[in-house]
Symmetry: C2
Subunit: 600 residues, 2 copies
C-alpha cells in the first residue's frame, strides 16, 4: 500500500510564509494561536493520521461495512481508531468552546481535515458529518436541545448525520415525502425513508443524532414546506444517557464504487420521535449553514486524495526501474533507469503536484476568510469575508474534487498495471475521490450556484472580493521582470475570466439557459484563475528565498519550478474553456430532446 | 442495470453512407460482403450481445473469478454464454478461412467487437486474446504447429493468451527472465512467472494456448534476446486432443479495480513444454503483429464503454424527474421536469455522444485501411494503407480509451449519487474502462510511439497518409458557406497540428526529451484533429439528407447538431493542448529529481 506522510512543510509554508498566518492570532479569541502552537497541532495531527488512520485505509476498503442484527458494523480497527481519535480531542478541534470544543481557526482545521482525508477518507466521514450537525444545532436548535446534545456530540461520544435525500428526490428537495406529525408534548412523530445517509448507523458512538428534513401535515408544497428535525437513534433519558430505541433503523447499506468503509445507509424512520430545529417550513435555511461547511469539507477530500495519490506515484516513479531515458541511459550501472526519467511521467507527477499544492493554497485562503467572517471585529471585514466565502464555496467544492479525481487518475496511470490492481492502493484513491464530485450537490449544481446565484448577487458584489485582490496583485507586480513568466499568464487568464463573466451576465440575463450552458466551463475557468493567482503569490514569496539560508533543501526552488510548470503546461487549457463559453449554448439548447434517446 | 442496445443505425450509416462500405466488396475475397450481408451480420451480433452477453455484465462484476482446486472458474453463466458465442461462430469472424475462419472485413468486425465490449468487456477478453494469438501463429508458426493449433483456436474450443509481463518488467520487456531450455526433440522447457495474464486460466475452453516470451540459455541481453514460445496448458496427444497437463498453473488471480469477470492471472511455467514460434531472439517482432491488433482492439473498448455509458445516462436523464428548467417549468403537469432540461446535463450527454460517434467513425476508417492493407490488389494502395494503420494505431488506442474514460465518468455524473452505487451499472463502466488506458502499452507509451517512431519514420512518410486527405477535404469544401461552421474549426485545428508537428520534429531532433514532453498533448491534438475531420465528413454526408425522405426520424438532424456541439464546445480544448506543446518541456526536464520525493 502507498504510504502517507503529511506534507507539513508545505502546510507551514502556507500558514506562515504565504498567508502570514500569524495574523490569525490578532483575531479575538485566537490570541493563543501563535505560529508555534499551529505547528505543534499540525505535528500531532500528522502522527494520528499517518499512524492510526492510514493503516486502516486499505483494509477498510477491502472489508467494508456490514449489517449484523440490525446494527451496522464498521471494518476491523475502526472502533478503536475512532476511540483514539476522540480521546486525542480531534472530534472537537473547530467546535465552539461553549460546548467543549477547542475553537481552532478554520485555516488550521482545514489542514487537519486534509490530513485525515488523505489518510482515510472513509473514516473522515464519521466525525465530519457530526461537526456539520453541531454547527446547525449551535445556530438553530433550542437551548434545551443544545444542552442535551451538543456537549456529547462535540466530545464525539455521539455522532450526527444529515438526512436529506429520498429515493425520488436527490437535488430536488422540494419533492421529499417524509412526514412529521406534531405530538402533544411539543415533539414530533417522524416517518419516512432516506437514502445515501452517510454514517446513518455504525458502532463508533453510543448514540447517533439525525438531522432530518420532513414535512409538517399542513406544509405548503415544494421547498417552502420543509422543516428540520432532530431525531436521535436512542432518546436520551432523564440523566442524559441514551435511553429507549427510537425506531430509527438502517435497513440496508448502499453498495458503492468507493468509500466502502463509510456506512452509507438507507434509513427508515417509523413513528420516531423528533424535535424541530429552527422554524416550521424553514428547514432548508437551517441546513444551508451546514451545507456550506460540508461543501468546503468535500472540496478538501479532493485535495487530500490528490496529495495522497501524488505521494504514492512519486515514490513508485523514483524506485521503479524500467526502460531507459530517451536521451540515453541515466543510470548505466542499473539494469534500467527509474521511470522518473521519462518526460511523460514527470508531466503526470508535476500536474498532480501543481494541483495539490495550488488547491491547498486556495483552501487555506478561503478558510482564513471563514475565520475573518466569524471573528473579525470590523463588521465591514466580516461582511467582505462572508461574501468571499459565499463566492468561493462552489468553486472550492467543484474545482478541488474535479482536480482531485484527475490527479488520482494520473497517479494510478504512473503505476501502469500495478496501479489498476488493488494491492498498491492507487485505484482506491480514484474510487474514493469520485464521490466527492457528486455528493453535497453535484459539481454541476455547484457551477449553477456560481453563475445563477453568486455572480448576480448584489450586482456582482461577491465577485469583487476576488477580482479586486487579483487586480491589485497584478498591478503591484506587473513591472517586475523576474515575475513576468508568472504574472503574464495570470493577467491573460484573468482578462479572459473578466470577459467571460461579462458575457454570461449579459447573455444569462436574457436567457438563463445560456448561463447554465456556460456554468461548468466557467467554474473551471474561475478556479484556474484563482490557482494561477495563488501560484504567482507563492512565487513572490519563494523567489527571494532561493539561494539563501532560508532554502537549504531547495523547497523554494521546487515551488517556483512547479509554478512554472503550472503556468506553461496546465494553465493553457483555460483558452479552450474560454472559447467554449464564448461559443454560447445554442448547440445544447437546440438539440432535440427525443434524439437523446432514440437514435434511429 | 443500464440496458444496452446496439447502435445499429449509426453503424450502418458509417459503413454505407460515410465510408461507402459497399466498396469493401470490390476487394478480392470480400465479394460477398454486400451491404445486405453486412447489415445481416450486424443484426445478429446485436442479438447475442444484447441478449446473451449484456445480462451477465453486472453479475460477472459482482461475482468475479475464483480459483477452485487450482483451476480458474469464471462467473455464473459465462461458460454457457461462451458456448453460445462459439456455436454462433463469433470466435472466428475475422479469422483466416484457411483455418476455418469466416474472414469478415475488419471494418465489420470492428463494429461487432464494439458491441461485444459494450455489452460485456470482461467477456470480450476471452475470445479477444485468442484472435490475436491466431494472427501471430498464422504468420510465424511452423506448418506443424499451425495444423495442430489453429483450427481449434479459430473454432474457439481452445483459447489463447499473450504472456509478456513479469513482476519486475512491465513495459520494459528487455528485463524479462523466463527461460527456455532446448530439449532433444526440438521442443523447449519453459520456466518462469508471468503476471497480468488475461484469460491465463478459465473454464471456457478445453485447452489454453499460451504465447510466452522467454530467453534461450545463450540469448543476448535486452530485447534482442527474447524468443516466442507456444506453451499449451495440455500438450495435445497424437489424436490432437488435450493430453497431459503441462505444468502451466494459474497460481493467483489479480484483484483489480474492474473487469472483474476477466481472469487476470499470475501464471507459473515450471519445466513446461513449449515450441518456438518464429526465429530465435526475434520473439518481439513476432508479437508486434499481435500487439498492433490488440491495441486497436483496446481502443474499441474505450469507444464501446463511451457508448454504453451514454445509453445509460441518456435513458436516466429522460426519465428522472427532478427540479425545474431554469427557464421555468417545461412540464408543469409533472411534479418536476426530467433532468434532460438542464443545460449542464445536456453538455455531458452531448460530450459523450460526440466522443462515441466520432470515435466510432475513426475506428471504422482505420479498420478499412486494415482491410486494404491485407486485400488491396494494388501494392501501392497496400503500402499506403499499411502506413496509415501504423500511424493511427497509437492514436486510436490512446484517444479512444482516454475519451472512453471521460465519457464513462460523465455518464456516471449524470446519475449523481445513483451513478456511484453499483446498482445502475454506471460506475462499473468507469472501472472497466480504466484499464484500457493502461494495458497493451500505457497511453503514455502510445504517445511516445507516435512522436518517437511514427512521426520520424521515412521523414514523415506515414504522416502524409493523414495530412493529405485532410488537406484535400478542406480544399474541396472550404468554399461552401453552409459548411463553414465545420470546415473553419477543422482548418484551424489542422493548422495547429501542422505547426505542432513541425515544432516537435525540430525540437525533438536536437533533444529527444522535448518530443517526450510534448507526446501526450500531441497525441490528443492529433486525435481531436482526426475527430474534427470525421465530424466534418459526416456533416457533408448528412446535410443533403436533412428534410428529405431519407431522414424521416431526424437521424441526420441530430448528427449535424452533434457535430456542431463538437466543433463549438469540445474542439476548443485543442488550443490549450497547442499552447502547452509550444511551451516546450523545460519546466519538466529542469525539475530536480530528488524534489519529487523529499518535499522538506
Amino acid at each position: 500500500m502507498a504510504a502517507y506522510k503529511a506534507p507539513l512543510r508545505d502546510m507551514r509554508y502556507l500558514l506562515h510564509d504565504v498567508f502570514q498566518g500569524a495574523n490569525l492570532a490578532s483575531l479575538p479569541g485566537f490570541e493563543e494561536f501563535t505560529p508555534d502552537l499551529l505547528d505543534a497541532v499540525l505535528d500531532e495531527a500528522a502522527k494520528i493520521t499517518e499512524n492510526v488512520l492510514h493503516p486502516l485505509n486499505r483494509s477498510g476498503d477491502e472489508e467494508g461495512c456490514r449489517i449484523e442484527n440490525g446494527q451496522v458494523r464498521t471494518p476491523k480497527g475502526f472502533p478503536e481508531a475512532y476511540q483514539a481519535f476522540r480521546e486525542g480531542g480531534w472530534t472537537s478541534v473547530s467546535s465552539d468552546p461553549a460546548w467543549g470544543g477547542q475553537g481552532l481557526p478554520r485555516a488550521l482545521n482545514t489542514l487537519i481535515e486534509e490530513m485525515i482525508c488523505s489518510a482515510n477518507v472513509s473514516f473522515s466521514l464519521y466525525p465530519g458529518l457530526t461537526h456539520g450537525a453541531c454547527i446547525t444545532l449551535g445556530r438553530y436548535a433550542s437551548p434545551e436541545l443544545q444542552e442535551t446534545y451538543l456537549p456529547k456530540m462535540v466530545e464525539g461520544v455521539w455522532s450526527g448525520t444529515m438526512c436529506l435525500t429520498e429515493p425520488h428526490a436527490g437535488t430536488d428537495l422540494g419533492l421529499l415525502r417524509t412526514t412529521a406529525r406534531p405530538l402533544p408534548d411539543g415533539s414530533y412523530s417522524v416517518t419516512g425513508t432516506k437514502i445515501f445517509i452517510t454514517a446513518g448507523d455504525h458502532d463508533l458512538t453510543e448514540n447517533i443524532i439525525h438531522l432530518v428534513l420532513a414535512r409538517l401535515p399542513d406544509a405548503p408544497k415544494g421547498v417552502g414546506g420543509i422543516s428540520l428535525f432532530l431525531v436521535p437513534k436512542y432518546v436520551p433519558d432523564a440523566s442524559g444517557k441514551p435511553g429507549e430505541p427510537n425506531n430509527v433503523v438502517a435497513s440496508a447499506l448502499e453498495h458503492k464504487m468507493g468509500i466502502k468503509a463509510s456506512a452509507t445507509c438507507v434509513m427508515n424512520f417509523d413513528d420516531s420521535r423528533g424535535w424541530m430545529v429552527g422554524e416550521p417550513n424553514k428547514g432548508l435555511r437551517a441546513l444551508f449553514t451546514m451545507m456550506n461547511t460540508e461543501r468546503l469539507g468535500v472540496g478538501l477530500q479532493g485535495l487530500a486524495l490528490a496529495e495522497a495519490s501524488y505521494q504514492g506515484a512519486a515514490t513508485y516513479a523514483l524506485e521503479r526501474l524500467q526502460g531507459r531515458s530517451v536521451a540515453g541511459p541515466r543510470f548505466p550501472d542499473l539494469p534500467a533507469d527509474p521511470i522518473i526519467v521519462h518526460p511523460d511521467v514527470r508531466r503526470m507527477l508535476l500536474t498532480q503536484r501543481a494541483y495539490a499544492e495550488g488547491c491547498r493554497a486556495l483552501a487555506v485562503w478561503v478558510a482564513m476568510a471563514l475565520d475573518n467572517e466569524s471573528r473579525n471585529p470590523d463588521p465591514e471585514e466580516r461582511a467582505a469575508a462572508s461574501d468571499l466565502v459565499a463566492l468561493m464555496t462552489p468553486v472550492v467544492k467543484a474545482l478541488l474534487t474535479d482536480l482531485g479525481s484527475e490527479a488520482a487518475n494520473l497517479g494510478m496511470q504512473v503505476l501502469g498495471g500495478h496501479g489498476y490492481i488493488r494491492e498498491h492502493g492507487m485505484e482506491q484513491y480514484v474510487r474514493d475521490c469520485r464521490i466527492a464530485q457528486i455528493y453535497e450537490g453535484t459539481n454541476g449544481i455547484q457551477a449553477l450556484d456560481l453563475v445563477g446565484r453568486k455572480l448576480p448577487e448584489g450586482q456582482g458584489r461577491l465577485l469583487r472580493q476576488f477580482f479586486h485582490p487579483v487586480e491589485a496583485f497584478i498591478a503591484e507586480h506587473s513591472g517586475n521582470e523576474a515575475l513576468a513568466p508568472f504574472i503574464g499568464p495570470l493577467q491573460k487568464v484573468f482578462g479572459r475570466l473578466q470577459q467571460a463573466t461579462g458575457f454570461i451576465a449579459e447573455r444569462g440575463m436574457a436567457d438563463p439557459e445560456e448561463a447554465g450552458a456556460a456554468s461548468s466551463d466557467y467554474l473551471r475557468l474561475f478556479g484556474f484563475t484563482a490557482l494561477a493567482w495563488l501560484w504567482a503569490r507563492m512565487v513572490v514569496v519563494s523567489m527571494p528565498k532561493v539561494g539563501t539560508h532560508e532554502d537549504p533543501t531547495g523547497f523554494h526552488v521546487a515551488k517556483i519550478a512547479t509554478a512554472r510548470f503550472f503556468m506553461e503546461r496546465v494553465l493553457p487549457q483555460t483558452s479552450g474553456l474560454f472559447a467554449a463559453i464564448m461559443a454560447g449554448g445554442g448547440s445544447m439548447s437546440t438539440f432535440p430532446d427525443e434524439a437523446f434517446g432514440d437514435r434511429n
